[in-house]
Every structure is written in structure tokens, then in C-alpha cells.
Amino acid sequence: MRSVHVETPGHVGKPPALAFAIWIKRLAAKLWLGIREWCGDSAYERYLQAPRTNSERSRLLTPAEFYVERVNRRYSRPNRCC
């Protein structure tokens, strides 16, 4: 099973200006990571995190192998519409 992280409200109890700065920083980080996920930039990191058996773990793909395999799979079924 995938390890799961849960967010904590880090700005609670801080002075308003600092809390706002933390909130903005978190928002920007989330936005950036969201864009990375949306365009597939973080796909390899996702792949490394996926749960797998010991035998699968011993044969992990390199970033280049993973990229080629990923685009081959992605473009072998309808993925762009009219």
C-alpha cells in the first residue's frame, strides 16, 4: 500500500503576516507541483513511489527507460480528442 501523507495547518498560531507568508508559500509550491504533475514532469518520481514487490524493486527502470515506456503506452490509446 502506498504511504500516505496528510497536510497539517502549519500557519495556525503564527502572527498574521507570517501566517499569510506561509500560506502564500504553500500555495505557490502547490501550484508549481500541480503544474509538474499535470504535464508529466514528476511522473518518474510517482513511479518510484508506487508500491511494488521485491522482485519488481530489483528491476526499476531508469529515467530514460521510464520516459520511453511511458510515452509509448500513453500514445497507444485514444488520448487526444476532437
Partner: protein, 706 residues
């Protein structure tokens, strides 16, 4: 206290939406401001999402967040990846939004702004979104199976085969017609042709970068690519200004058609990482940027809608395409209101990545609402230009004439005043030799977009840059559909061929790759070529054919959805899919009948073929043109046969479904639901699918083993 406030807010939203919609419907006389359209659409979408989709989620589908989705049960980091709902919404929207919602409404503007706008909103709310949402739900409950597989299991073996055949047919017709849209946008335009041609080496460069230099670093490669693409948009002006280079990139429709056919073959046969994937990354960023810019531009400029609510062409005599408002407004709008192709995405990648069942509502229903909004924006852009200019750009030379004077005289005689000089000035302002007879919707949409963008940034001086940016944006993502579709079509042909001779199905076997690529490219290339040489402009024949096939596939999806709902014992609410399905069957059957048998040669394929045959027999065709005319006659008969085949497929599927429905209602023990067994989700309630992102952004976040 919260509840009364919420009730008041929703009553206000509903009243404002109804008021704006009513205003659009009854307004006559002075031009209407585009803000009315934006407000009407936004309020209708909000109310529909809040109430109608919630009703479907709760009563019809009973979404269950305690049930593990395929992404949890099969999480492999490749296909099955639990994904945050906002990110998956972005993925899904990028996949479903293609050229259809831009081109369809632009063409349908020939009936006036009213019918198209009403169908874009109502069609999406009651049909398109419902289809996308329910098919996504069905696929999530079946381990992410495809529409064809679901049809085979839930309707019948034959039903599944028909669904697969319909997908291949729509793919071929779609690729032919979108290629024709590009050809009509690029022909005799050195600026646009150079810009689009330059995106090919840029994509190759990005492909090599992503494969060897920085594997998988999509974001930085895309930034480089977008910067280069914007540079070549500007550089295209220098090419157009240089007599020698302009000559190289000034190509006829036939030459462009063959260039696209060669490109499609290369994109299908070459390694996917080299050309197809990097072009898709480029296209996704530019598509997102252009759509958001258009929305922002419309809100800032708030242009006047100059097209009347209804034009005289609702009687079927329109110059852009032939056919009455019923059924051709619905057939032409296609993807902006409901698209059968979406059911392939909803039963493809998205169900394998969805985190919770309840997200299907936001992603399935919500993304289609956004696509409909893109259609409304395209309608605004098309209707914001003078009607005379709109008809001059979108009508073929055989109807309005090939010169500015002839076009101005013809179009003015229809009651839409146009000066010949207006077209000459406009062509010069956007950096083109001519804007006349550019059927296909892309150039007129680009003019509309350029006028909106230049009113925000740059003024008239930048009109030509904005026009070519808009053409590049449309052509770039049409090319993406073309190469991605050709590749998928190649796999389908290989799969079908593999049933006859097994080695043909091996996707890495070069003879198989080359033969199947040639077959699929030859199929859509034939439709493209016949469109290019068609005296009526090609779009008149091919866009309705595409619309019919697309809407038929939507009917197939709704037949499958209705069957599943019956098996789920949701008989009381079956009208939610049954009514849109019946409506689609009625409009597609009517359109198919008229396209085949109508006595008007501009509308009916067979009557056009017969009229041309009579002209040859009567000696009215010069000897030098007899062979060409006979080819047009053959093409018309072929189009009639394809339309008849599509209609026959849906009739057979409906008969199959009716037999299955009878078995379900008579409680035949063999008609059972084929859902995967219930497995309880092990994820905590607040898990949003951002496991590693939380680690990266918040190193102090506590970790839980789910």
C-alpha cells in the same frame, strides 16, 4: 443560518442566468454585448453542476467513496496512478478539448448566434456532461475498461464489435476533416505555413532533449519549446516579406494535403518520443494559454456581437454548409455540446487515475462544462465580426465568387453589407494575401481571436501577429490530434489485421507498422484529398459527416449507459440517459437521411452525384474536366455509402440493446451487472493523492501508512 444564505445565493445565480439567457433569446435590433453570453453560460453551468450533477451522483449513480478505485487497487505508478482531482481535471480537460468546440460553433454561426449558443449550453448540461460523467463512473466500476469492452460485457458481443468499428470509422473521418481545416487555413499563406512547418524541427529537438539530454524533464523542455514557437510566429512575418522565401512557403491546397499525409505517416511510424510526444507537450501548453487568454480577452474587451440572433440561412440555403437548422445546427456544433469521442477518454486514461468515486462528478461533468464554455467563446469570437466578413471568409468561391468585388456583391445581396475594400484591408492588416474562401472555420476564428487580443494588447499594429498566433495555436493542436489519432488508428488496424494473420498484430514488427500506417493514413488522406478538390469546398460534405459519426458514437455511449442503469435497477431515472440518447438518434438519423437522399444537390450526396452525371451526359462539362468530375461523383457516392453504414451500425446496436433491455426487465438471470467486486478503500478521508508532493513541499508533514 448557512443554509438560508446558500438558498438565497443559488436563487440569485439562477435568476441572473435565466435573465441573461432570456435577454439573449428575445433581444432584437442593436448589437448585444458578449458579457450577456458569458453570464448566461456561467450561471447555467453553476446551477447545473450544483444541482443536476449532484442529483445524478446521489440518486442515479450513488457514488461511494468507501469503495477502492482502480488507482488504489492496481497502483503501479504507470497507468494506475492515484491523482489529485484538480490535476486529473486538467489532464482530462486537456484530453477532451480539441478543435471541435472551436470549429463547430464557428461554422454553426451561419444560423445566427442564438441556436448555437442555446444548444451549446443545453446540450452540454443535459447530454454531453451526463454522458462523460456516467461513462467515467462505469469505467471506474470496471477496472478502467474501455467503452468497447464495457459494451461487449453489458450489451452484447456484437454491440462491443460495433462500438469498436464506430471508433475506427469516426477516427478516419475526424482525421480527414481536421486535416482539411489545416489545409484551408494554410493554403496560400507563407507566414502560417512557415510557422507550422517550423514546429516540426522544434518538436524533434525537444524529443531528442527529453530522450537523451534530460530524460522526462517535460516542464523545462516545454518552456524552451514554447519560446521557440513564439519566436517562429514572429519570424514568419520575415519569411512572408521575403519574395524568395515567401515563394517556397506559398503552397496550394493539394500540395499541403500531400505534405500532411506524409507527415501523418512519419508521425505514426517514427518512435513516439521523437515527434509525437514532444509536439503534444508543446500543444498542451499553448492550448491552455490560448484558451485562458481568449476567456480573459472576452471579459476585458466585452465585444459587441454583430451577427443577428437568426439569419436567413436557417432555411438550409447557407453558404458555409447546406442544411436546415434542424438537424444540422446540432450536427455541426458536435463536440461543444456532446461528443462521442469523450467516452473514449472517460473509459481510457482518466478512470485509471481517479482517486475517489465522488471525483467522477467534478472531472466527468465539470470538464465537459468547461469544454462547452470554450464553444461559447468560439461562438462569441465568430459572431463579434461583421456578418459580411464572416460569410466572405467561410464561403466557397463557387457560391460567393473568387474576387473581393464578386464576394461583396453576392454577400451584400443577401442583406449583409460588405465592401470589397473591407476584405482587402482586413487581409492586409492580418498579413495575408487574401481571406476570401477560407472555409473550415479556423481563419475566421483566428480573425475573431486576433481582433479580441489586439484590442487588449498592441492594437491594430499587432493584429497580424495575433492572427498568426491564433492560426498556429489551432493548427498546432489539430496536428497533435492528427498524429496521435493516426498512431491510435494504426494500432486498431494492427489489432483487426491480427485476427486474420497473427504477426500483423505485433506492434514492434516493422512490416506491420509500415503497412498499417499506410492503410490508416491512406484512409483519412483520401477523405482529405476529396475535400481539397471538392468544388463546394469540402467542409460542406465532410464536417456534417464528421458530426454524424461523432454524434452516433455518443449515441452508442448513451445506449451502453442506459443498459447499465437498467441493470442497476434505476428504472425511475432512466430518462436521464434515454432522452439524450433518443434525441441523438433522431438528429443523426434525420441528418443521415438528408445527406444521402435530399434532392438538393448541395445537401444530398446522391443528388449531387446525379446532377454532375447529368451534366456530363448533357455535354456541359469540358472534356478536360470529365475525369475530375467523375472522381467527384465517385466521392459523393462513397460519402453516401459511409453515412449509410454509420446509420446501419447504430440501428443494429439499438436492436441489440432493446433485446438486452427486454431480458433485464423480464429479470433474465443471465443479464447481470458486470461490476468489479466491492473492496473497501484503505486511504484516510483527507488523502488528496499528493503523497510525494506533501513530502516535497512540507518536510515536516506527518506520514501515515495507509
Amino acid at each position: 443560518m448557512k443554509r438560508p444564505i446558500s438558498i438565497v445565493i443559488w436563487i440569485v445565480v439562477a435568476l441572473v442566468g435565466a435573465g441573461a439567457l432570456g435577454g439573449i433569446a428575445v433581444h432584437r435590433g442593436e448589437p448585444l454585448n458578449a458579457t450577456w453570453f458569458v453570464v448566461a453560460a456561467a450561471c447555467c453551468y453553476l446551477v447545473a453542476y450544483r444541482f443536476y450533477s449532484a442529483f445524478i451522483a446521489a440518486r442515479l449513480l450513488t457514488l461511494d467513496d468507501t469503495r477502492a478505485t482502480p488507482s488504489e487497487r492496481h497502483d503501479d505508478g504507470r497507468d494506475f496512478v492515484p491523482t489529485n482531482k484538480w490535476i486529473l481535471f486538467g489532464h482530462h480537460f486537456a484530453a477532451i478539448a480539441g478543435p471541435g468546440p472551436l470549429v463547430g460553433p464557428t461554422l454553426a454561426a451561419q444560423f445566427g448566434y442564438l441556436p448555437g449558443t442555446l444548444w451549446l449550453i443545453a446540450g452540454a448540461v443535459f447530454a454531453g456532461c451526463v454522458q462523460d460523467f456516467i461513462i467515467l463512473f462505469c469505467s471506474v466500476r470496471r477496472d478502467g475498461k474501455t467503452l468497447g469492452e464495457i459494451a461487449r460485457e453489458e450489451v452484447s458481443q456484437r454491440g462491443g464489435f460495433i462500438a469498436q468499428l464506430a471508433v475506427l470509422a469516426i477516427m478516419v473521418i475526424l482525421l480527414g476533416v481536421v486535416a482539411l481545416v489545416i489545409v484551408n487555413a494554410l493554403k496560400s499563406s507563407p507566414w502560417a505555413t512557415f510557422t507550422l512547418a517550423a514546429t516540426i524541427p522544434i518538436a524533434l529537438l525537444l524529443g531528442l532533449y527529453l530522450r537523451f539530454l534530460r530524460p522526462g524533464r517535460v516542464l523545462e523542455a516545454s518552456f524552451i519549446g514554447v519560446a521557440l514557437v513564439l519566436f517562429v510566429v514572429v519570424a514568419g512575418q520575415w519569411v512572408a516579406d521575403s519574395p524568395s522565401w515567401a515563394h517556397v512557403f506559398t503552397l496550394s491546397g493539394v500540395t499541403l494535403a500531400f505534405a500532411l499525409i506524409a507527415y501523418g505517416f512519419a508521425a505514426s511510424a517514427l518512435p513516439v518520443w521523437l515527434l509525437l510526444a514532444p509536439r503534444d507537450y508543446l500543444s498542451a501548453f499553448i492550448k491552455a494559454g490560448a484558451i485562458f487568454s481568449l476567456a480573459a480577452g472576452i471579459l476585458l474587451v466585452r465585444p459587441q456581437v454583430l451577427m443577428p440572433p437568426l439569419t436567413r440561412f436557417i432555411d438550409g440555403s447557407g453558404p458555409v454548409f447546406a442544411g436546415k437548422i434542424f438537424p444540422f445546427c446540432f450536427i455541426t456544433i458536435a463536440c461543444g455540446a456532446i461528443s462521442g469521442f469523450h467516452s473514449l477518454i472517460s473509459s481510457g486514461t482518466t478512470p485509471k487515475m481517479i482517486l475517489r468515486e465522488s471525483h467522477a462528478r467534478f472531472i466527468g461533468y465539470g470538464a465537459m462544462l468547461m469544454e462547452s464554455f470554450v464553444g461559447v467563446m468560439a461562438m462569441i469570437a465568430a459572431c463579434a465580426m461583421t456578418p459580411g466578413v464572416y460569410f466572405a471568409i467561410n464561403s466557397p468561391a463557387s457560391i460567393v465568387g473568387a474576387t473581393s468585388d464578386a464576394a461583396a456583391a453576392t454577400i451584400s445581396s443577401w442583406g449583409y453589407p460588405l465592401q470589397a475594400q473591407t476584405m482587402t484591408d482586413l487581409a492586409r492588416a492580418v498579413g495575408e494575401q487574401t481571406l476570401l474562401n477560407r472555409a473550415g472555420g479556423a481563419p475566421s476564428l483566428a480573425v475573431g481571436m486576433a481582433q479580441i487580443f489586439s484590442s487588449t494588447i498592441g492594437g491594430p499594429r499587432l493584429l497580424s501577429i495575433w492572427y498568426h498566433f491564433a492560426i498556429m495555436f489551432e493548427a498546432l493542436f489539430i496536428l497533435t490530434v492528427l498524429d496521435a489519432g493516426t498512431r491510435v488508428g494504426r494500432f486498431m488496424v494492427q489489432e483487426l489485421g491480427g485476427r486474420v494473420w497473427k504477426p500483423f498484430a505485433r506492434t514492434g514488427w516493422w512490416p506491420g507498422i509500415l503497412i498499417s500506417s499506410a492503410l490508416i493514413v491512406g484512409a483519412w488522406g483520401y477523405f482529405l484529398y476529396q475535400g481539397v478538390v471538392d468544388p463546394l469546398g469540402g467542409i460542406n460534405s465532410l464536417w456534417p459527416l464528421f458530426g454524424i459519426s461523432n454524434q452516433l458514437l455518443a449515441a452508442v455511449a448513451l445506449v451502453v449507459a442506459t443498459t447499465i442503469l437498467l441493470k442497476m435497477k434505476r428504472i425511475r431515472w432512466i430518462w436521464l440517459t434515454l432522452i439524450p440518447m433518443a434525441w441523438l438518434v433522431i438528429i443523426t438519423m434525420t441528418a443521415s437521411y438528408q445527406k444521402i437522399f435530399d434532392p438538393n444537390p448541395r445537401l444530398g450526396f446522391l443528388s449531387y452525384a446525379n446532377a454532375l452525371g447529368a451534366q456530363i451526359a448533357g455535354g456541359k462539362i469540358p472534356a478536360a474536366k470529365i475525369a475530375d468530375t467523375q472522381r467527384v461523383i465517385f466521392n459523393q457516392r462513397l460519402d453516401a455509402a459511409v453515412t449509410a453504414l454509420l446509420a446501419a451500425m447504430i440501428i443494429v446496436l439499438i436492436i441489440e440493446a432493446l433485446m438486452q433491455w427486454y431480458r433485464i426487465l423480464s429479470e433474465d438471470p443471465q443479464s447481470v451487472l458486470q461490476e468489479t467486486a466491492y473492496v473497501a478503500s484503505g486511504w484516510p478521508e483527507n488523502f488528496s493523492g499528493a503523497s510525494y508532493t506533501a513530502t516535497a513541499a512540507e518536510p515536516d508533514a506527518p506520514a501515515m501508512e495507509g
